[in-house]
């Protein structure tokens, strides 16, 4: 295959202006990738600062207020600026049209608008950070968020605007999957990644408006004293928590469903087998998207919520584990007796499956009300959701980055180095977060800058793990940046994958396909033809 510069989307206009005004879903995907990676760096620096502060009891590098602001900004950045847009907006934009044989997404101009909405929202949030930042935690719980003197307002407005970007992206994907599938590509032939993005889009579209409204109400409460959530005016702070978690619990699935899609693709590609049970993965995706809306109250067990409510929410939360287990069994069944190729995406996939399983099982324990009260607001909870959000989502994000890097940029990266970095990341992750489970179980509360000396050894272990993680990310950033220019030319299909996205050139031409592809079978039909594995 010709070198990547030949006639790809990357070489179709080389000016900055041609990128800023592009309607090409691939360029928009790459822009989202760059933006989300930048905010991953910002959020990561905040996390590192938190871990350094917790290295010793008492003050290490910052006071309590600075610490509170720091974990708030870490949460806000990681949740809304990195994790929610990362896989859907970056990889989803790039891959969904390629996977369904379309030229672009349904509404390319709206797609570009979603980039600018994201940039606008992110700028307002950044401005809030420079104003000193909020100290409420990423959850903005009332009445603290309506009374604190820190810069809550710009952060609220920023997140509100980013919500529009999310909605626009979700709307676009739903319309795209419904109307732009290539002839012959029926629903039950869609790649599993497309299904995952579709399920995610449904959640984004249904849940994000409620977040917008609740943020608006908090802002109004701060500005004009609207009094909806203020007990002094007859309001109910729990109502805020209901509305907030009606969005923010499904938001967990906005973060993790696309990861599951990535894993479904990678498992098939690196074991050279069809998905063990395509339909079950599809149905469990939709099942998670649906049941995820009925579990939000498990964040409120210790809030004074009705006991009836807690029981119902706890039981519903356990249902999610069934759907997740179906997926994990399907992936394991796919790997079983497959022709395994140990490449970095597969290493991340295995890490993902372990972390999702471990974090998910602990989640079932947490949804038991009586046990939850012991762990509520401790470091155990922090470790639990980091197992899902970092352990699962970031692993899948890195897996996707490695799996589709040749697709996006037409270059290979040094495989051995990538494998070592993947192992380092997984090891660093375990070292960071397993001590936090132990800390939480011993009674270390979350969101505290200080702690009694007997917790120190575990905190030091956690900080050491965080440093390992940071080191691993630096290595990845270095070799990927190097590979962009100096990596070996990948060819069209370096992994020998049978996924639909590999049917066009790598990197793809602006119009994606020279010939409308045909889809006689579903994706990853390895039994049909033997795809030779790239040396």
């Amino acid at each position: 295959m010709s070198p990547p510069a030949a006639e790809s989307y990357l070489s179709d206009g080389r000016t900055l202006w041609s990128w800023l005004t592009t309607h090409d879903h691939k360029r928009i995907g790459v822009m989202f990738l760059v933006l989300t990676l930048f905010f991953f760096l910002v959020g990561g620096l905040f996390a590192l600062a938190l871990r350094i502060e917790l290295l010793t009891p008492g003050r290490t590098i910052m006071g309590h207020l600075a610490y509170n602001r720091m974990f708030t900004l870490h949460g806000v950045t990681m949740v809304w600026l990195f994790m929610i847009p990362a896989i859907p907006s970056a990889f989803g934009n790039f891959l969904v049209p390629l996977m369904i044989g379309a030229r672009d997404v349904a509404f390319p101009r709206l797609n570009l608008a979603s980039v600018y909405l994201y940039v606008l929202g992110a700028s307002v949030t950044l401005w809030g950070m420079f104003e000193g930042g909020a100290d409420t935690g990423w959850t903005f719980y009332t009445p603290y968020s309506t009374t604190t003197g820190t810069a809550v307002l710009p952060v609220l407005v920023g997140v509100f605007i980013i919500g529009f970007s999310t909605i626009v992206t979700g709307l676009n994907f739903i319309a795209t999957v419904h109307t732009l599938r290539a002839p012959g590509l029926t629903w039950m032939k869609l790649p599993l990644f497309v299904w995952a993005i579709y399920g995610t889009s449904i959640i984004q579209v249904l849940a994000t408006p409620v977040l917008g409204m609740v943020l608006l109400l908090v802002a109004l409460e701060r500005v004009v004293g609207a009094g909806i959530f203020d007990p002094a005016r007859g309001g109910d702070p729990l109502l805020f928590q209901h509305l907030f978690w009606f969005y923010s619990h499904p938001a967990v699935y906005i973060m993790v469903l696309p990861s599951m899609g990535v894993i479904s693709e990678a498992v098939c590609a690196f074991s050279r087998k069809n998905a063990f049970s395509y339909r079950m993965i599809v149905y469990s995706t939709l099942g998670i998207a649906f049941v995820g809306f009925f579990t939000w109250g498990h964040h409120m067990f210790a809030s004074g919520q009705s006991i009836f409510g807690s029981g119902a929410f706890g039981a519903m939360s356990m249902l999610v584990a069934i759907f997740t287990a179906i997926k994990i069994f399907s992936w394991l069944g796919t790997l079983y007796r497959g022709s395994i190729a140990i490449e970095s995406p597969l290493i991340y996939t295995l890490g993902f499956m372990f972390f999702l399983f471990f974090g998910g099982m602990i989640g079932v324990a947490y949804s038991t009300t009586s046990l939850n009260l012991h762990w509520h607001d401790t470091y155990s909870v922090v470790a639990h959701f980091h197992f899902i959000m970092v352990g699962a989502t970031v692993m899948a994000f890195l897996g996707a980055l490695h799996y589709w890097f040749p697709k996006m940029f037409g270059r290979c990266f040094p495989a051995k180095l990538a494998n070592s970095a993947a192992v380092l990341i997984i090891f660093g992750f375990i070292t960071t977060f397993v001590p936090q489970f132990l800390l939480g179980n011993m009674g270390m509360p979350r969101r505290y800058a200080d702690y009694p000396p007997h917790f120190q050894s575990l905190h030091v272990a956690s900080t050491a793990g965080a440093s390992l993680l940071a080191f691993g990310f630096l290595i990845i950033a270095a070799y990927l940046a190097w590979s962009l220019k100096y990596g070996a030319v990948a060819g069209d299909n370096p992994w020998g994958s049978d996924g639909f996205e590999w049917r066009s050139a790598s990197p793809p031409p602006t119009h994606n396909f020279h010939v409308t592809p045909e889809y006689p079978t579903g994706p990853h039909e390895y039994a049909r033809e033997e795809v030779p594995h790239a040396a």
């Binding site: 579209v205 408006p209 004293g225 109502l239 010939v515």
Partner: protein, 209 residues
């Protein structure tokens, strides 16, 4: 090189139309869920403060609220007729009907303004500013907060809708749409109907019962 893969964004005219309708419906779903937060707050506080809510409701001007309901329903009928006219290749008539519907929307906003001014004079203001002596503060101040939020957010949608109808009306009158291309009128009409339907739910819970 088969041209359909390279040049056509939409596989077919049907796909274009369906994407437009589906996209609009998804947008409508987001609007419905945007209001859901306020309806939920209303439901929760009404169940907590039933007497205060009833007392505050009795001070609402049902006449003006009902007038507004009739205005919006009539404008919806006009918009439905306009879509029919544009589809039937009479864009001039369609434009006139759209502009008439927009005019009803403006009257709606005027009536709403009169109502607001009455409330302000009586002191029925949201949150801290609540000064209405007739109804006890706890609970009733929440009713008025929600009243302003629901009607205010709705009025914002009416304003957007009026602008959309005006632009569509002028463009339709100048012959921009017809049977082969009625999508913008259809989508704008759907938006206006959405605004109407939301009011149909706001009206009974705030004014009637």
């Amino acid at each position: 090189m088969p041209p359909e893969a390279v040049t056509e964004h939409w596989g077919s005219e049907d796909a274009r139309k369906q994407a437009a309708y589906l996209g609009m419906w998804v947008f409508i779903a987001t609007e419905v869920l945007l209001f859901a937060g306020l309806f939920t707050a209303y439901g929760v506080y009404r169940s907590v403060y039933p007497e205060a809510f009833r007392a505050a409701q009795l001070t609402m001007e049902v006449g003006l609220g009902t007038l507004n309901t009739f205005l919006l329903v009539s404008s919806s009928i006009l918009v439905a007729l306009a879509v029919h006219a544009v589809r039937g290749n009479r864009p001039g008539l369609g434009g006139a009907l759209l502009l008439a519907a927009a005019l009803l929307g403006i009257v709606f906003l005027g009536v709403k303004g009169v109502e607001y001014s009455h409330h302000v004079r009586e002191g029925g203001l949201p949150g801290d500013a609540y000064r209405f002596a007739e109804v006890p503060r706890v609970g009733a101040s929440l009713f008025f907060t929600l009243y302003y939020l629901l009607t205010g957010l709705h009025a914002l949608h009416v304003t957007v809708g009026v602008s959309v109808l005006t632009v569509l009306g002028v463009r339709s009158a100048s012959g921009a749409f017809g049977p082969s291309y009625a999508t913008p009128v259809e989508l704008g009409g759907m938006y206006w109907h959405l605004v109407d339907v939301i009011w149909l739910f706001v009206y009974p819970i705030l004014y009637l019962s």
